[in-house]
């Protein structure tokens, strides 16, 4: 196949331009999104056909009789209402699955901190407990960008990275925080987006499934460097993740 035909084949397979999904909840979300997009396209076509045919065909003088209002207006409206209600029910179910309950207690814990203009990822270390953080300890020059309290006994084994590294097929519970202004934590390939808000910790959980490197973006306007505020998400096989974690913990151990 030529380059061009490969391009055409890709466009046919993915006409809506969605990036590949690599999360456990993604296939259901994509399915629902594509269903919505095809329905919208069908209604768009139908409405424009009615509009165009309506203004082009021979005139019928009286126009639709007012008594036909039930047939012409309220019946289609009821059909649309049922359609939108069905889509809403499906969407709310997916939303409830994703957000109504917290993560499994066995989920991997990572604290994500957004600041102008970087994301940092705080792992709790071998004691599985995060050292406390406070703004007065923030010192990016001294390797403490998220402000871990050095006097907290849970702190010494903690480590902070500038890329998010996760094992495939294990649920992760992210605690989103923001140091200065609101930031938007978004991983398109994980079908995930949640703002990080100063003064608040927001939990979000998901399960990556396919190992690879993915983009973490900022999707809430946060200042001049907003466009370059991003990081990589590296999803590793469980075995590779254990090796990576061990090397990080060894380096962190005092």
């Amino acid at each position: 196949m030529t380059h061009r035909s490969i391009h055409h084949a890709a466009l046919l397979a993915n006409p809506w331009n969605l990036p590949a999904n690599a999360s456990a909840h993604g296939p259901a979300l994509d399915h629902h999104l594509l269903l919505n997009l095809w329905i919208a396209l069908a209604l768009l076509t139908l409405a424009h056909l009615i509009l165009l045919i309506g203004i082009l065909v021979r005139r019928r003088d009286a126009g639709p009789a007012p008594s036909a209002v039930w047939r012409i207006e309220y019946l289609p409206l009821a059909a649309l209402a049922i359609l939108f209600a069905a889509l809403t029910v499906r969407a709310e179910r997916l939303w409830a699955d994703a957000r109504y309950t917290g993560a499994d207690p066995a989920a991997l814990q990572v604290e994500v901190t957004g600041m102008q203009f970087a994301w940092y990822f705080h792992y709790p270390g071998s004691d599985a407990t995060f050292g406390t953080t406070a703004p007065q300890f923030v010192a990016p020059g001294e390797g403490n960008p998220v402000g871990i309290d050095p006097t907290d006994p849970h702190s010494p084994d903690d480590f902070v990275t500038s890329e998010l590294v996760l094992p495939a097929n294990r649920e992760v519970d992210l605690r989103l925080r923001a140091q200065d202004v609101i930031h938007g934590f978004s991983i398109p390939e994980m079908r995930l987006k949640q703002n990080a808000i100063p003064g608040q910790t927001v939990h979000i959980h998901f399960t990556p499934t396919i190992p690879g490197t993915y983009a973490i973006l900022c999707t809430q306007l946060c200042g001049t460097g907003h466009f370059r505020m991003n990081a990589n998400l590296r999803v590793l096989s469980p075995a590779d993740f254990i090796t990576w974690l061990a090397s990080k913990q060894k380096a962190a151990t005092p």
């Binding site: 919505n36 409405a47 065909v57 207006e73 969407a91 609101i182 987006k193 001049t224 370059r228």
Partner: protein, 594 residues
């Protein structure tokens, strides 16, 4: 007792020189034109800014904004603020509201002339203050028209967030006061100044649009004003309504000496309680006018007229219950998110009812394709296309992917900006004779040939610009990125893949802007040399074409009693001449209709 609005108010002051009196006038017709001129200036500034953004994204090597590093975001902020407030709010509501509304209800003036003049000059002052922010040392603010704190609450959060943002706050506060006064004027006029026989169900749908938008304005702008005052206090009075304890910006901890522990989310609630009704304020008058124009050139009554009135009010009511859909991923409770999702999707029902009515009105009508009719049909098309992505974005699980991508940019530019501007173009072409008429000169018509060129190029340009944005958004491209090249990490690849499509969008945007030259040429030519309009050039049934309500009428100042005897849109067949105006005293032929 409704005052019979027969007499124009006597000249308030003979001391003011004549020339000044023509500028600082309380005459609603002149104020309406002043608003339209203000909106025209604003839309030219706003369009120029949007082209700057597109050109900077596609061809950064041209380096057209070398003044300041944050200038892309400053340009974006001013673009959004100008277009939302000074174009889409002022032109339909205050511009055409002043020019047409009194006559459409059989009145000779607006109810509160002094308040009317004051609100125009405050709006003009607000525009000057907003533009002046560009000439401060650090430039205009960069926090967008939504101004989320702490970015907007702390001056050190970015260039332009100091004096620039203070000027933005003043500008919007003054605009809000002016919009509230103008809305009170609109409401009082509609409630008290309807002529004899102008019952509520005989009001043209345009008047229902202005009425609902004015109600929303009063509710929405009062909440915005409160939010602006709180934000000002956070910036200058040491309060922390929106700043949490321990907020660390640029190495400085804010809000420790005043441990208020405020919440940025409070601003989002207050802002979007205003912001969502605001977009309906922008579009409701256009919906009303589209209904009336479709009916007029189809020579049919608007199908399901009473349902149209109901859906206008219903859209207004639901509009104040849906603000949370801007906050699905902002940290709202997931249960509140579900509630806001349901109220938001509910708007699809009255909106669909309007579309069905429009389709039924034009069905097998073989309408007259005048330029106003073309723009009204374009409004319907853009409203459908932009509207259908609304229910998609109202589903939180999908918004979790689409929020703040170009999919959203495409959605609101089609449904609000493009539909809104098509409504304004339809209004301009349709009412041009009434805009141009003076007491001594007859009104003129705009050129139909140039109008057709303008319509087709604008329609193609609008779709070519905003349809591809759905695709870049679905691919994950976020809004508010000041450059698409030189982005590090995996994100760089994701954005770089979209550069061909973005280049196409930029070309289309330039085409769309150039298409407006047809309009400007038409405007300038027709003001002086347009064909002289007959008394009722479109054979319309509504009162703004009443011979003694027209601006150039020799009997305008007379005390001739205005009364209406029927609903609008009494057409009797396809021949343009067979119709009954609202003021015709003949017995209604179609009295069995509704």
């Amino acid at each position: 007792m409704t005052p019979q609005p027969g007499t124009p108010i006597s000249n308030p002051s003979a001391i003011i020189p004549k020339r000044a009196r023509r500028v600082f006038t309380t005459d609603h017709h002149t104020i309406g034109i002043q608003y339209l001129i203000l909106a025209l200036v604003s839309v030219i500034i706003g369009t120029t800014l949007s082209l700057h953004m597109r050109i900077h994204l596609s061809w950064p090597q041209l380096n057209i904004e070398r003044i300041l590093p944050g200038s892309y975001l400053a340009i974006m902020t001013v673009h959004g603020t100008i277009m939302l407030f000074f174009v889409l709010t002022t032109a339909p509501q205050s511009g055409f509201g002043n020019l047409i509304l009194p006559a459409q209800i059989g009145a000779r003036r607006m109810a509160l002339p002094l308040i009317n003049a004051l609100s125009f000059w405050l709006t003009a002052l607000a525009l000057v203050i907003l533009c002046s922010s560009a000439f401060t040392d650090a430039g205009s603010p960069l926090s967008g028209w939504t101004a989320y704190p702490p970015l907007s609450a702390v001056a050190s959060a970015g260039p332009g967030q100091g004096l620039g943002l203070d000027l933005w706050l003043f500008s919007i506060a003054i605009f809000g006061i002016a919009a509230t006064m103008s809305s009170i004027n609109t409401l009082v006029t509609i409630i008290r100044f309807r002529c004899e026989g102008m019952t509520w169900d005989r009001l043209p749908l345009t008047v229902w649009g202005w009425f609902t938008a004015a109600l929303l304005s009063i509710l929405a702008f009062s909440v915005l004003l409160a939010a602006l005052v709180l934000l000002f206090c956070d910036r200058h009075a040491g309060t922390s309504f929106f700043i949490p304890t321990g907020n660390l910006v640029n190495g400085v901890i804010h809000s420790t000496s005043h441990p208020g522990n405020g919440s940025p989310l409070l601003w989002l609630h207050l802002f979007w309680f205003f912001g969502h009704p605001e977009v309906y304020i922008a579009i409701l008058p256009g919906m009303g006018l589209t209904s009336m124009i479709l009916a007029n050139f189809s020579r049919r009554r608007v199908f399901a007229y009473r349902t149209m009135i109901t859906t206008t009010l219903l859209i207004g009511l639901l509009g104040i219950l849906v603000w949370g859909h801007h906050m699905f991923v902002a940290g709202l409770s997931p249960f509140a998110t579900s509630a806001f999702s349901i109220s938001s999707i509910a708007i699809a029902i009255p909106a669909s009812a309007k579309v069905i009515s429009w389709l039924a009105t034009t069905w097998r009508s073989r309408p007259h394709y005048t330029t106003p009719m073309l723009f009204a049909l374009g409004f319907v098309s853009l409203f459908i296309t932009g509207g259908l992505t609304g229910p998609i974005l109202a589903q939180p699980i999908l918004d979790q992917y689409l929020h703040n991508t170009f999919f959203v940019v495409a959605h609101f530019h089609l449904i609000m900006a493009m539909s809104g501007i098509f409504g304004l173009f339809a209004a301009t072409y349709y009412w041009f004779p009434l805009i141009t008429a003076t007491t001594t000169k007859p009104g003129r018509l705009m050129s139909e040939a140039l109008g057709r060129w303008h319509f087709w190029t604008t329609l193609i340009g609008a779709y070519a610009t905003f349809i591809p944005m759905h695709l870049t958004g679905l691919a994950g491209e976020p809004r508010h990125y000041s450059q698409l090249a030189g982005i590090p990490n995996a994100a760089g690849q994701l954005i770089a893949n979209l550069r061909p499509l973005n280049s196409f969008i930029t070309h289309a945007a330039i085409f769309l802007a150039c298409a407006q030259i047809f309009f400007l040429v038409n405007l300038v030519k027709s003001l002086k040399n347009g064909a002289v309009a007959p008394q009722n050039p479109w054979h319309a049934t509504t009162l703004e074409w009443h011979p003694s309500l027209a601006t150039n009428s020799t009997v305008a100042a007379s005390n001739e009693k205005i009364a209406v005897y029927r609903s609008p849109c009494e057409y009797m067949g396809p021949e343009p001449e067979s119709f009954l105006t609202q003021w015709d005293t003949d017995s209604p032929i179609h009295s069995n209709r509704e």
